[in-house]
């Protein structure tokens, strides 16, 4: 077990000169300000200490000191500590050392800021466009504050993303964006030899809706939860809860215990509905529609209950900064008990019917195999990781809401394949039912909302993680002026998992592609969000249309 002091000491011993400042507002959070030249070394050092890479956050700090900020976040799972390594580079030469060669999972985060903030990463293995549309002109960085939120560069005709070259002798099969496996627009160029997958390239982020500049017109701290829920229609509460926790951390707000219990219940309800949904989809993906129909039939009960409790079947609108919107009355609590009892029973029937079915084993066992080491290397999270014997769960490792008082198991299996994810998810559903029962029993009385005065001190950093059904959702928030965050970074669980998919696909059959991609329960809309909410500070400068044309022309010629 490491403590924050030990981490500080170890870092100080080695990198005395590069470390500018330590900041630890809570006993579980450590922010380290460092010089940008040592980014790579210190990141590696933290990984060596047992850290797990979470996400990088880049932000525009030009108005204050003409720099672009970059924060690498790590989680010490055994010690319940989040370590954030903060650094900055001047805007006229925003070059950082890339940490991707050591931490492959950072690849996308860094590519994201190449696109959105115009940063440069030295040594990045694949500095290609990631987020923005193919025809987005180079040199327009939408996350920078001088770019308006509704800027619409003209469309360019002949700009295309250059997909990776297929290996020798392989054919590309284009999968997506409108493909029944995906349900969401994302493009996989799958390189096959015959039907064996020899690699794939991903061109996703087609659901990137760039919500960030919304706040420049309207959104404030307490509207963002509603937008956060719509990052993803399935695990909306997770994002709302993570966001709300970030705000509460930044504001130093302690919410009532009852609200925390209700949040716990909401998160677990969401887990049940999401896992049942996934089970159905997985059945559908291997062509077993009966499983799909039956598990969705079972799931419907919880949807109806959610409607009663929150007023909507999904995107509940329950969790806001400072508490929750609606209370669980005793009648609703009783109904919830009976609903989860039915689900418990019916799911057990499904589980028994599915678990021993050799025809399902055929399609799932030994499919999408990657080793535990690879899973750790790619920083996989959630059931995808737990099916590969990586024992992480932020509910247990970084307790939040009321999880510190809950008794539950974290199912971990070592089959390292798709079947493992099936088992983990079904078992987790039973655990979720257990947690809801406990929460209903233990729930204290009290207010559900704590007054949130919306006057958060600017430039406070906060990080928070919530275990979503798909894995761990991480939010990073920098508070800002005018009742809005300066920067809000969301890392959905699919973000790291999706980067591990090519490794899972390798040497499997094309017919297994749906279930392998399905096994991480992908949620591209979460992944593609980049919901950064920041404040327009200073004057808004419009690029004139002439400028834009110039820019897009430059891009076109460069593209040729």
């Amino acid at each position: 077990m490491l403590t924050i002091e030990e981490i500080k000491k170890q870092l100080k011993d080695k990198y005395q000169n590069s470390i500018k400042n330590f900041d630890s507002p809570y006993s579980t959070r450590l922010f380290v300000d460092i010089d940008k030249s040592k980014v790579r070394d210190i990141s590696n050092e933290i990984i060596r200490m047992g850290g797990r890479y979470l996400v990088s956050v880049g932000y525009d700090n030009i108005a204050r000191d003409k720099t672009l900020g970059l924060i690498h976040n790590f989680s010490m799972d055994r010690d319940d500590i989040f370590v954030s390594v903060r650094t900055a580079a001047p805007v006229d030469n925003p070059e950082f050392d890339s940490i991707t060669p050591d931490i492959p999972n950072a690849g996308w985060s860094e590519r994201e800021y190449i696109d959105l903030l115009g940063m440069k990463f030295k040594g990045h293995p694949k500095p290609k466009k990631l987020i923005l549309a193919d025809d987005w002109p180079a040199g327009v960085y939408p996350l920078r504050k001088d770019v308006p939120w509704n800027l619409m560069p003209p469309a360019a005709e002949d700009v295309a993303y250059e997909l990776d070259e297929a290996p020798e002798g392989c054919t590309t099969i284009p999968v997506g964006p409108f493909h029944p496996t995906l349900h969401e627009p994302a493009h996989f160029a799958v390189f096959v030899d015959g039907e064996t997958i020899k690699g794939c390239d991903y061109r996703g982020f087609m659901v990137h809706r760039g919500i960030e500049k919304l706040c420049q017109t309207q959104l404030t701290y307490n509207e963002i939860p509603f937008v956060a829920e719509r990052i993803c229609g399935i695990c909306g509460s997770v994002h709302a809860a993570t966001y709300a926790q970030c705000v509460e951390f930044a504001a130093g707000l302690k919410i009532s215990r009852r609200a925390e219990y209700i949040r716990t219940i909401m998160l677990e309800i969401e887990r049940i509905h999401s896992h049942l949904l996934w089970l159905g989809i997985a059945g559908h993906l291997i062509g077993f529609d009966t499983v799909f129909m039956q598990s969705w039939r079972v799931r419907e009960a919880i949807m109806w209950y959610s409607e009663k409790l929150t007023g909507n079947r999904k995107t509940y609108g329950m969790i806001v900064a400072g508490g929750v919107r609606r209370d669980i009355t005793p009648e609703l609590a009783d109904e919830l008990r009976s609903v989860i009892n039915t689900i418990d029973k019916e799911l057990m029937v499904i589980y028994k019917a599915v678990a021993g079915d050799t025809s399902i084993h055929r399609r799932t066992k030994g499919v999408g195999c990657i080793t535990t080491e690879e899973a750790k290397l790619w920083s996989l999270v959630g059931p995808t990781a737990r099916a590969r014997n990586v024992d992480i769960d932020s509910r247990r490792d970084h307790p939040y809401a009321a999880y510190d008082e809950m008794q539950f198991d974290v199912p971990v299996v070592d089959s390292c394949d798709v079947w493992g994810t099936v088992v983990v998810r079904i078992l987790e559903t039973f655990e979720a039912i257990k947690i809801i029962r406990q929460a209903l029993d233990k729930m204290p009385a009290g207010p559900i909302m704590t007054e949130f005065d919306e006057n958060v001190t600017p430039m406070r950093h906060a990080i928070s993680a919530v275990e979503a059904p798909r894995g761990e959702a991480v939010h990073y928030l920098i508070s800002g002026e005018e009742n809005r965050p300066e920067r809000w970074r969301v890392r959905a669980p699919t973000y790291p998992n999706l980067q591990g998919v090519p490794a899972m696909l390798l040497n499997d059959q094309f017919a297994d592609l749906p279930i392998i991609i399905g096994s991480i329960d992908p949620c591209f809309s979460c992944t593609d969000r980049v919901v950064k909410v920041d404040v327009r500070s200073g004057a808004m400068s419009h690029l004139s249309s002439g400028d834009l044309e110039k820019i897009s022309r430059a891009k076109k010629t460069a593209g040729r």
Binding site: T171, T172, H179, H187, G194, E195, R203
Partner: protein, 616 residues
């Protein structure tokens, strides 16, 4: 009359020899040389066809004739082979005129020197009546001439090596056959087959087994029998110029079939010949050949190699037919004995069909090669609009080789398979052989769906072959059209051919088959008319099998087609062209074409052990 036949045979050979002398001299004028070559070959060919016609339909030949110390024999059986050789030679020569333009940097004198010699050699093989002197001359002429034809493109890497391999293996086959001949007790150089048969009677049983074994291996080499065919056939056939490939695959390997039938049905002593055993051996070789050959063919992506491997596969059918005929012939049951007729007719019918459709396939691929410069199925595609005539004839040939009803392959495969299955009710392994043959015909189909689909239907040339692609000139189309028409005729009117083969065997004295063929009740057994061929065998109830398909089934199909067509029109829907839908993000391009080598990957993987895998 006989003298007349042999005289014209020699004349034809002389004309061909003349061609070999004259044409190389003219070879600097490419087109002219081609035309002269074609005219001379055609004249000789017509004379040879005339010989066949007279022999088969007017009952000529059948007497061994000693000319210049070599025994010659023209009976119905050899006449059939003369016919297919000379016919395909004419087609090939015609096709060569334009095709050889395709090799601007190669001198043509060697081609036009060896082309007629090659034909002389083949004609020789099927007409000489010994296994020593005349045979050696004919064999060497054929082998050496074809060797030079195969190594024609000697500048391409690997071609000379493959040609050398061919030469060595063919000489080895020759050694086998010659050794077999001299193992026969008291055989002398220049003995005719009749003399050999007499001497065989005096040979001990064990030696006889060796003799037949060596003969089978020797001719098996030529016929592309497993495992010998795999050694040379695909390499040699795929590197030769296309008209030569057509000749090699279409007729040269048939000389092996000729040899096998000649030795196992004619060169049979009254005593000491275990027909049942040799039948089983040959049939087993046939089944293995067709199984392995076709499965190997499935893996190919080079169009000509694909055809070449299929030649092995199709030879397997013929060998199976021969073998099972031999088994049935030596069976105790009268009924099964009668079925041997169907089997051997099937074998010969398939020989004819294979000549036509394989010739056609090689010529079509040649045309594709001529027009696009590649024969790699991974690169080809989408030629249907650009080369419609070639596409149609290649389609006919593909359906024929796959054995689709109403096309030529069907009638002959049906004959072989059904006779095997019917005989199978008495002899169990024959039914298994029949089923394997049926199974393999599905594999053949798969392979030709790939060939046709990937060359003509799918997309490809838009991106891979930059040249402007046009349909090939008429001189290259006419031979293909003739062959295609023949393909259709053979498929649609099988009764003509059944009659033909029956009269061939009737007119070929000396074989162990002749007694059955000449039995009178035969006419009542086979209903052979425009409605198709139906077989009733005494001892089996009712009509047992029929290949009436062609016309009746075609009529049925046509009626159904009209119905379906009307159904499609009935909704009043309009037609519109639309680009291929690939999930939106990508448009069809060279990288996301699903190319030939990807097809049937799971099946190919399961059959890796059959060999013939292509390396990547």
């Amino acid at each position: 009359m006989n003298i007349d036949l042999y005289g014209s045979l020699l004349t034809a050979m002389a004309i061909l020899l003349g061609a070999a002398v004259i044409v190389p001299i003219l070879s600097s004028k490419r087109k002219l040389a081609g035309w002269v070559n074609f005219i001379l070959v055609a004249v000789a060919g017509v004379m040879l066809l005339n010989i066949s016609y007279i022999t088969i339909f007017q009952g000529g030949g059948a007497e061994t004739q000693k000319i210049m110390g070599i025994y010659f024999l023209i009976d119905g059986f050899s006449a059939f082979f003369i016919a297919i050789i000379s016919f395909l030679a004419i087609m090939s020569a015609f096709y060569s005129i334009q095709y050889m333009e395709h090799y601007p940097d190669y001198k043509l004198w060697s081609y036009y020197l060896t082309f007629p010699l090659f034909i002389i050699g083949m004609i020789g093989i099927v007409t000489v009546d010994d296994l020593s002197t005349g045979f050696t001359i004919a064999w060497q002429l054929m082998t050496i001439a074809s060797y030079f034809l195969i190594r024609f493109e000697y500048r391409t890497e690997g071609n000379v090596r493959n040609a050398n391999k061919y030469l060595i293996l063919m000489e080895l086959a020759w050694v086998f056959i010659i050794v077999a001949t001299f193992l026969i007790n008291g055989s002398a150089v220049g003995d005719s087959l009749h003399q050999l048969i007499e001497k065989m009677g005096a040979t001990s049983g064990m030696t006889l087994y060796i003799v037949y074994g060596l003969l089978l291996v020797g001719f098996g080499f030529k016929a592309g029998m497993f495992p010998f065919g795999q050694l040379w056939l695909p390499d040699a056939h795929s590197i030769a110029p296309s008209p030569i490939s057509a000749l090699l695959s279409g007729v040269m390997i048939k000389t092996g079939v000729y040899g096998i039938i000649r030795t196992f049905f004619w060169m049979v002593p009254a005593e000491g010949y275990d027909g049942q055993l040799w039948g089983i051996v040959i049939a087993s070789f046939g089944v293995v050949t067709l199984f392995i050959g076709t499965n190997q063919a499935l893996k190919q992506v080079d169009a000509k190699r694909l055809h070449a491997y299929h030649s092995i596969g199709q030879m397997g059918y013929i060998i199976l037919g021969i073998g099972s005929a031999l088994v049935m012939l030596n069976s105790a049951s009268v009924t099964v004995k009668l079925l041997s007729v169907i089997a051997i007719v099937g074998a010969l019918y398939h020989t004819l069909n294979h000549t036509v459709f394989k010739g056609l396939l090689f010529l079509s691929t040649g045309s594709v090669l001529y027009a696009t410069g590649t024969k790699d199925l991974n690169k080809l595609g989408g030629l249907m609009k650009l080369m419609p005539v070639t596409a149609v004839v290649a389609g006919i040939a593909s359906l024929s080789i796959a054995g689709m009803p109403a096309f030529s392959g069907f009638a002959s495969k049906w004959t072989i398979i059904s006779s095997n299955i019917l005989a199978g009710s008495r002899i169990m392994f024959l039914v298994i052989f029949g089923i394997i043959a049926l199974f393999i015909s599905a594999v053949t189909l798969a392979s030709y769906v790939k060939f046709f689909g990937m060359t003509f239907a799918s997309s490809g040339v838009e991106w891979t072959v930059a040249k402007k692609i046009k349909e090939v000139p008429a001189t290259m189309l006419i031979p293909k059209l003739i062959l295609a028409i023949l393909c259709l005729v053979q498929g649609l009117f099988p009764f003509i051919y059944f009659g033909l083969f029956i009269s061939i065997f009737k007119n070929s004295a000396g074989s162990i088959l002749q007694p059955i063929f000449s039995e009178i009740m035969f006419d009542g057994m086979v209903v052979n008319n425009a409605m198709g061929v139906a077989v009733t065998v005494p001892g089996m109830q009712g009509m047992v099998s029929s290949v009436a398909v062609p016309l009746v089934v075609l009529a049925v199909l046509a009626a159904a087609y009209v119905f379906a067509w009307l159904l499609r029109k009935s909704g009043g829907a309009e037609e519109k062209e639309a680009p291929t839908w690939l999930c939106g993000y990508q448009d069809l391009n060279n990288k996301n074409r699903y190319v030939a080598h990807n097809m049937y990957s799971a099946f190919k993987k399961a059959l890796r052990w059959t060999g013939g895998n292509i390396k990547k």
